[in-house]
């Protein structure tokens, strides 16, 4: 917790008297104007500027009686007591041996947490435990006491670092805003069970909502957060998140349950499981399981565009064994599709087994890599073929790499066969129950590296020129008898220019006979090695038409591919940008054009601009920012506008105010949610009472998703 904006602690606490060093072995030294020692009773009565000093404790009062034998100090008049961890002043104090004591009408200051307040009485049971009655507690400066906690009694335990209070009322600007019969709060920085920032907000789908998370620090290696979320239009949703860390694995389980949603009048729930780690040496597991009770769960209960646009939830379990130079993956995978046409829902891999070699490439020698995949495709949609696929693929290459260039001839041999059922009638479809396919691919990848030193704005840069040619030939193979299980065309990108197949997935091998020509140039700052600018341009020349296509697509007869251009630059630590362009020379048409700029002048300010055009798919601009208006005010926001639909996709504006003991963050949001294209509005408020735990909707996660680079841990 950062108290940078507060008055120095010394300015708001009573200053201790200047004293010579205390006597050793815990003796008590008393200073006073007048003192009387009653020798028989072993009683000393001191009056007038009385100061008692023992070790680091100092008591200052006007009238004190000290009983030597019982070691009891009784300060009748007003007193101030200084200790290492806190300061207390009041009207009457009685100090007993081993740190016990009672004090009346008390003002107290907790030094390490800047907490302070008043109490009608205080009892110290031992060095670490104190009980206060009719207490107030705040961490604000006296000059601006924005919030104050009142409680009938408070128990402060320095040992566990935990404070707990009963009949708690929290006042903000003297207005009671929160009551709880019991509240626990941290009095030092240890991870501690207690309330996390409760949140408040409103949106069209859920109405007024209020949620208050409670964090349970169950053990050093597992904890849980329980968040009841009250929604006026829906009811009460109980969210639980359980995190655990085992010896060499760990994970997280989230479960949300909304019994009897008032609007949808059904029970709704969400389950999210993540687990990964080592089962036994060299055997690893990775589990991702998301499930919701109904298709509209995210649309109605999610609170931003990112969540509500989710269409598929992955349910996957992997087991991977690593041998020496090979590994084998066993996978079960299916998806829960939300609101999608059953005909296009993905197949389920129940199971998929992949045995593959992962030998490092050895230069100037024959390298052999192999991969064998067996997968059983299942589907609940009964008009789709299901069954097993066996795919054997081996790659031979003879890389010849030197400092000035590389020549890499390689060949792929592949055999794929299927055992299928649930096929449409043969008269109507080309699909067969046992199709198989053998293909080979020949490739030659060559490139050269040219360097020179240039001087730009008197910075020494290494300017490189890297031409590259990539030839590929795969003969045509009839494949209409093979259904499509997990295959589609890659997005065209600079990386795609050098792939061995136009398709991802084993159901289609592209009959490519083509040559890729590409050029990359880099400007590298010699001092830092930072790549200030990289530009890559490339294009494929087709020597033959591509007759292997996905069902219902035409042959591809273009003689060349789009020209692909990619630019990425990191001018310096503050400014970076990138651009990607696909330009179709035949139709002189820009298929894809993406520009992005990020300016981060200092840790507090951040600006992102981006323009995205994907031909007949989307054309959008996306601007997000965060910058300080003053040392205490900060503005943040995002405007995502669709140029082709000429409407906003998501707009949100936020203001953050932070001062010594509290911070408030308000965000207003408007985002496109449903097919009808109407807008949803939301507002949420996060108030953090520093030292007492925050109070407001968890804005960070949302902001992190929406402002690239927004990171609360700046």
């Amino acid at each position: 917790l950062d108290w940078g904006m507060c008055q120095a602690i010394g300015e708001i606490t009573p200053l201790p008297p200047v004293l010579p060093p205390p006597p050793e072995n815990n003796a008590v030294r008393l200073y006073a104007d007048d003192g009387e020692m009653y020798e028989q009773e072993g009683k000393i009565v001191a009056s007038g500027n009385v100061i008692l000093q023992r070790g680091e404790q100092v008591l200052k009062t006007d009238l004190a009686t000290y009983l030597k034998n019982q070691e009891v100090v009784d300060a009748e008049g007003s007193f101030t007591f200084w200790d290492k961890q806190f300061i207390i002043s009041g009207s009457r104090a009685k100090l007993l041996p081993n740190h016990q004591g009672e004090m009346q009408d008390v003002h107290y200051w907790l030094l390490n947490r800047r907490g302070r307040g008043q109490a009608t009485s205080l009892q110290r049971e031992n060095e670490n435990n104190a009980k206060l009655q009719q207490t107030t507690y705040t961490t604000c400066d006296p000059s601006s006491e924005v919030w104050r906690l009142k409680a009938s009694n408070v128990h402060l335990n320095q040992e566990t670092g935990r404070g707990s209070a009963n009949n708690v009322v929290i006042n903000i600007l003297n207005i009671p805003v929160f009551y709880s019969p019991y509240l626990s709060f941290p009095i030092d920085d240890r991870r501690l069970s207690g309330f996390l920032p409760p949140s408040m907000g409103s949106s069209d789908e859920v109405g007024i909502e209020f949620s208050i998370p409670y964090y349970l620090n169950l053990a050093p290696n597992y904890d849980a957060t329980i968040t009841p979320r009250l929604m006026s239009k829906r009811g009460v949703l109980l969210g639980t998140e359980f995190r655990y860390l085992l010896e060499n694995s760990g994970g997280q389980i989230e479960w949300e349950y909304l019994p009897n949603d008032r609007t949808a009048d059904e029970d709704r729930s969400l389950l999210k499981i993540r687990h990964s780690g080592m089962v036994v040496p060299s055997l690893y597991t990775d589990i991702v399981y998301d499930e919701v009770s109904d298709d509209r769960y995210f649309r109605e209960l999610g609170d931003n565009l990112t969540i509500s646009s989710t269409t598929h939830l992955e349910q996957r379990g992997d087991l991977r064994f690593f041998g020496n130079g090979w590994n084998v993956l066993g996978r079960l995978q299916r998806y829960q599709s939300l609101d999608t046409n059953p005909a296009t829902r993905p197949y389920e891999r129940l199971p998929q087994i992949v045995l593959s070699s992962d030998l490092p490439e050895r230069n100037k020698q024959l390298n052999v890599q192999g991969q064998m995949e067996l997968v059983n495709f299942e589907r609940s949609y009964n008009e789709a073929p299901v069954g097993n696929r066996y795919d054997f693929k081996s790659t031979l290459s003879f890389p010849w790499r030197t400092a000035s260039g590389f020549v890499v001839p390689s060949a792929i041999l592949r055999h794929t066969r299927y055992d299928l059922t649930q096929l449409p009638d043969e008269s109507v479809s080309a699909l067969r129950d046992h199709p198989s396919r053998s293909t080979y691919t020949l490739m030659m990848d060559t490139g050269l590296f040219f360097d020179r030193e240039v001087n730009w704005f008197n910075r020494y840069l290494l300017h490189t020129l890297e031409p590259r040619l990539f030839y590929r030939y795969t003969p045509y193979e009839y494949q209409e008898d093979i259904p499509i299980f997990d295959t589609a065309e890659y997005d065209l990108s600079f990386g795609q220019l050098f792939r061995d197949n136009r398709f991802i997935g084993a159901d289609r091998v592209d009959d490519g006979h083509q040559l890729t020509a590409a050029l990359t140039t880099r400007f590298v700052d010699q001092a830092t090695g930072l790549e200030n600018l990289r530009v890559s341009v490339g294009q494929i020349y087709y020597f033959a038409d591509r007759e292997v296509v996905l069902p219902s697509e035409l042959w591809n007869t273009d003689s060349t591919s789009d020209i692909v251009a990619e630019l990425s630059s990191q001018f310096n630590a503050r400014l970076s940008g990138s651009a990607t362009m696909l330009w179709n020379p035949n139709s002189n048409n820009t298929e894809l054009s993406i520009w992005r700029l990020r300016y981060r002048p200092n840790t507090d300010s951040l600006y992102n601009f981006s323009y995205r055009l994907r031909e007949n798919r989307l054309e959008q601009t996306d601007i997000s920012w965060r910058f300080p208006l003053s040392s205490q005010w900060r503005s943040l926001g995002r405007w995502n506008y669709s140029l082709d639909a000429r409407k906003d996709l998501e707009v949100f504006l936020g203001l953050e105010y932070e001062s010594c003991c509290w911070a408030i963050r308000g965000v207003a949001r408007r985002y496109l949610n449903t097919i009808e294209g109407d807008y949803l509005h939301g507002f949420f408020l996060e108030v953090e009472l520093k030292g007492l735990g925050g109070f407001g909707k968890k804005a960070d996660a949302f902001l992190e998703d929406n402002i690239v680079g927004y990171d609360d841990r700046f």
Binding site: R29, L30, D34, G35, K68
Partner: protein
């Protein structure tokens, strides 16, 4: 109690003036009465008309006083450059860097008066008392 014990005084030189009722002893003067023992450079005793002891003035560098109070286990010591003992009031008054101590507890102040009969020490102006903790008797840890 010490008050009823006989007083005896030793000194290098003594001048006694019965008429005025004054006796002055000088040079390593030692006065003892019961458990009381006083050492000083100069002791001046004055007597009332009825020959009873009125006041004793002690000067020393410093003058020292020691007494074992009734039902107490430790001697009470005092020193100061000037002490005055008012017999009728059983009051011993110490001035000029006066210090009183019993066992390891010490008591200092500009002016300290000691009521020898009721065992009360009073001090004023810049009082400083140092009290040693009682022997660390094993604190009665709650039997758990």
């Amino acid at each position: 109690t010490d008050k009823d014990q006989p007083i005896n005084i030793t000194a290098e030189q003594a001048t006694i003036d019965d008429i005025k009722g004054i006796a002055i002893y000088e040079g390593n003067v030692v006065v003892t009465q019961g458990t009381i023992r006083i050492e000083a450079d100069k002791v001046t005793l004055t007597y009332t008309k009825k020959q009873t002891l009125d006041k004793v003035i002690l000067d020393g560098n410093p003058a020292r006083f020691k007494q074992r109070p009734d039902n107490s286990t430790e001697d009470l010591n005092a020193k100061a450059e000037k002490m005055e003992y008012f017999a009728t009031e059983n009051r011993l008054q110490l001035t000029q860097n006066a210090e009183v101590w019993q066992g390891k507890d010490t008591f200092t102040g500009q002016r300290i008066t000691y009521d020898t009969e009721r065992g009360i020490i009073k001090a004023n102006q810049k009082v400083q008392v140092t009290i040693q903790p009682r022997q660390q008797s094993p604190s009665k840890a709650p039997a758990n």
